[in-house]
């Protein structure tokens, strides 16, 4: 038997038919949110089509929902265009159906990539798609998960299938023990520093090695979430006991005799010994430092004890031009030490870092301290209603509030700044999100990507600090 990679197994087991190198693959789970679905539902309506399999759809509103003012309900959304988009999702789900829908303000509503796993709607071995590039998150479960555009959202709704060319296999191997204060976020950024944001283009990435296996499911989701920032549509991690333990007992997880059969199958979801990868990238976990991005692409990143790189380090003319634009946009000079960069705002949240473990880590740093006077706003946005409730049971909300953070309602919030949470022009933000593109968090806003611990420490200090020295 030919040794297969995890990606090969997941892909091959979903091929309906294949012709001329293009496969039709079957989709098990389709996650739907308000921003990339209305045109797809409209397309179905215009063509007189229905959903192929209603039970594959799990929907929630997250991108465009407010994170405060929930006491006023839908009417509290000042922007009528945003309100209409959120109402349209409800109308579409009412018309077409879904296995589950967690509408705006439902106790289980939240970021689709937090909600899926916490409901057990994401399972090992599944193909998972969503009209959102961070769908790669779900690969943490040994699933084949990737983002799609709205035309493909409509295609999956109507046919349960996608036309796909198989990607190449990349293994990212991280061995060793991560240092104190070094998180899955830092691993993700360190990988991107090495591969570049286009290094994974055309590949499906499997993350492996002792440092990866030591991560919790939350950490694994953070890592797979950022596979897309390395250019790979899908990132994934083999199933192990950590995976199975997380999935057990969740609302949509298999029960009783189905559970045992499922676990037996899930345990086969790993790359075979001798499986061949088209490319392998290796990192030494012990050398990874807490990371801070300095520019306008996730690959513009250095260790916290580093400096904004100077132009002579650029690899070619194109990168020189990129860096020069980034210096200007970020208002940073080459060779500026990272820990001398002052911040105006702090955002702890997003599908990368808004799970309970992230909030616990940030709260542990903030406990008994206070947000610096120079910081205009430090906000914590839990990934879902259930994460928020859990954090409140643990008293994390009180720690954050006592330290001067705002404790908000769940949603995507200032990760993409579609709702009212955004940076003003020129404001500088320590953010636990995934993209530091120009204007991403608000036109003219300047984003530095960091881990939750590093964001909380920056909030307290008013500038970036090395979490390893921060007490």
């Amino acid at each position: 038997m030919v040794a297969k990679t995890l990606y090969d197994k997941l892909f091959d087991s979903h091929v309906v038919t294949e012709e001329n190198g293009t496969a039709m693959i079957y989709i098990d789970r389709h996650l739907v949110h308000e921003v990339t679905s209305p045109q797809a539902f409209e397309g179905l309506r215009l063509a007189g089509r229905k959903l192929w399999r209603i039970s594959s759809i799990v929907a929630t509103a997250d991108h465009n929902t407010p994170t405060n003012g929930w006491d006023k309900g839908l009417s509290g959304i000042a922007d009528p265009v945003s309100r209409l988009q959120i109402e349209t999702l409800t109308e579409n789900i009412n018309e077409f159906g879904a296995k589950a829908y967690f509408p705006f303000m439902d106790s289980r509503q939240g970021i689709v990539h937090v909600v899926g796993p916490e409901q057990g709607a994401t399972l090992p071995g599944m193909t998972v798609v969503c009209g959102d590039s961070h769908t790669s998150t779900h690969g943490a479960f040994g699933a084949l998960a990737h983002g799609i555009g709205t035309s493909e959202v409509e295609h999956v709704m109507a046919t349960q299938c996608l036309m796909q060319k198989k990607s190449k296999n990349m293994q990212v191997l991280v061995n060793g023990v991560l240092g104190k204060g070094v998180t899955a976020k830092d691993v993700a950024l360190a990988i991107i520093a090495k591969t570049g944001t286009a290094g994974g283009t055309g590949f499906a990435i499997e993350f492996a090695g002792s440092a990866i296996l030591a991560l919790s499911m939350e950490g694994r989701m953070t890592l797979c979430n950022m596979a897309i920032e390395a250019g790979a549509r899908a990132g994934m991690i083999a199933v192990d006991d950590t995976t199975i333990e997380y999935v057990k007992g969740r609302p949509f997880s298999p029960k009783a005799e189905q559970w045992d059969a499922a676990v037996a199958y899930w345990k086969t979801l790993h790359s075979d010994d001798g499986a061949v990868f088209d490319t392998v990238v290796t990192l030494d976990a012990t050398l990874i430092q807490p990371q801070v991005t300095w520019g306008t692409s996730p690959e513009m990143v250095v260790g916290v004890d580093g400096k904004v790189p100077s132009l002579d380090l650029a690899k070619n003319e194109v990168q020189r031009a990129d860096w020069e634009r980034a210096y200007a946009y970020m208002d940073l000079k080459p060779n500026t030490p990272i820990d001398e960069i002052n911040i105006d705002k702090v955002f702890i949240g997003s599908c990368t870092n808004s799970r309970i473990e992230d909030l616990r880590a940030a709260a542990a740093v903030a406990k008994g301290k206070h947000v610096a006077a120079s910081v205009k706003l430090a906000m914590v946005v839990p990934g879902s209603g259930l994460v928020k409730a859990q954090a409140e049971r643990e008293g994390l909300d009180k720690i954050f509030i006592a330290a001067g953070f705002e404790w908000r309602e769940p949603g995507c919030s200032m990760c993409l700044a579609m709702n009212a949470d955004r940076l003003e022009p020129g404001e500088r933000c320590a953010s636990t999100s995934n993209r530091n593109f120009e204007g991403r968090q608000g036109q003219g806003g300047r984003t530095h990507l960091v881990s939750p611990e590093m964001a909380a420490a920056a909030a307290v200090a008013g500038h970036f600090v090395d979490i390893r020295q921060f007490v």
């Binding site: 921003v35 071995g125 109507a158 250019g231 189905q258």
Partner: protein, 212 residues
């Protein structure tokens, strides 16, 4: 879907690498539940000097004279020439919608991000990968020659310069066929629904928990 066969079009150069889909169409315009009308807001933060919001009269907004696509010589361009990793970031199909609505049917670059690349083909647009050297050469020619046009022939898989130099590009056979004929991909897939149903039955037998 509109077919794409041949295009003889004016070329506009966007000399940047890693242009992300947030830059192509900023998030505030994603609140729309429609598929059209994004064109005037393509590259909004670079195109205008003020902050754009949905519902504004874009014809009255101050244009950024430094943004290359605002130059008179590039008005009416249908081919966008750009640098590596174009369309990275968010999966928003609003990005190709905005480019197409802005008049672009072809984007030429040395590489594209996967999701954006895929989304183009769903909208009658052709993303073309040429080597970094060829792209560099085209940038020089476009910038030095007002009214510079390229001829793109999908069937022949060629890009031809005014000087008659022809560059061949690769395109997946299935995508090429669908684009040349403007085929509706959902219709095509539905023609194979018996196979989908058969797969589904087998899949349900082996992993019944997927269908709970």
């Amino acid at each position: 879907m509109q077919a794409f066969t041949q295009l003889n079009g004016l070329v506009a150069p966007l000399d940047r690498a890693n242009v992300d889909t947030d830059a192509i169409i900023p998030k505030q315009f994603l609140k729309s539940i429609k598929r059209s009308g994004f064109g005037p807001n393509a590259f909004d933060e670079w195109r205008y000097l003020d902050h754009g919001e949905p519902g504004m009269d874009n014809s009255k907004r101050p244009l950024n004279p430094d943004f290359v696509l605002n130059q008179t010589r590039y008005q009416g361009a249908s081919i966008l020439l750009t640098r590596e990793n174009f369309g990275c970031g968010s999966s928003r199909e609003h990005a190709p919608w905005a480019l197409e609505d802005n008049g672009f049917r072809v984007v030429i670059s040395s590489s594209f991000a996967d999701i954006f690349f895929n989304n183009c083909f769903k909208n009658g647009m052709l993303p073309i990968v040429l080597s970094a050297e060829i792209v560099e050469g085209l940038f020089k020619e476009v910038e030095s020659s007002v009214g510079y046009q390229l001829n793109v022939d999908l069937d022949a898989q060629s890009v031809t310069t005014p000087g008659g130099k022809a560059y061949v590009f690769e395109v997946d056979a299935v995508r090429k066929h669908n684009l040349l004929n403007g085929l509706d991909e959902i219709d095509l897939t539905m023609q194979q629904q018996d196979k989908i149903k058969a797969f589904e039955i087998k899949h349900r037998q082996t992993q019944p928990w997927l269908f709970n």
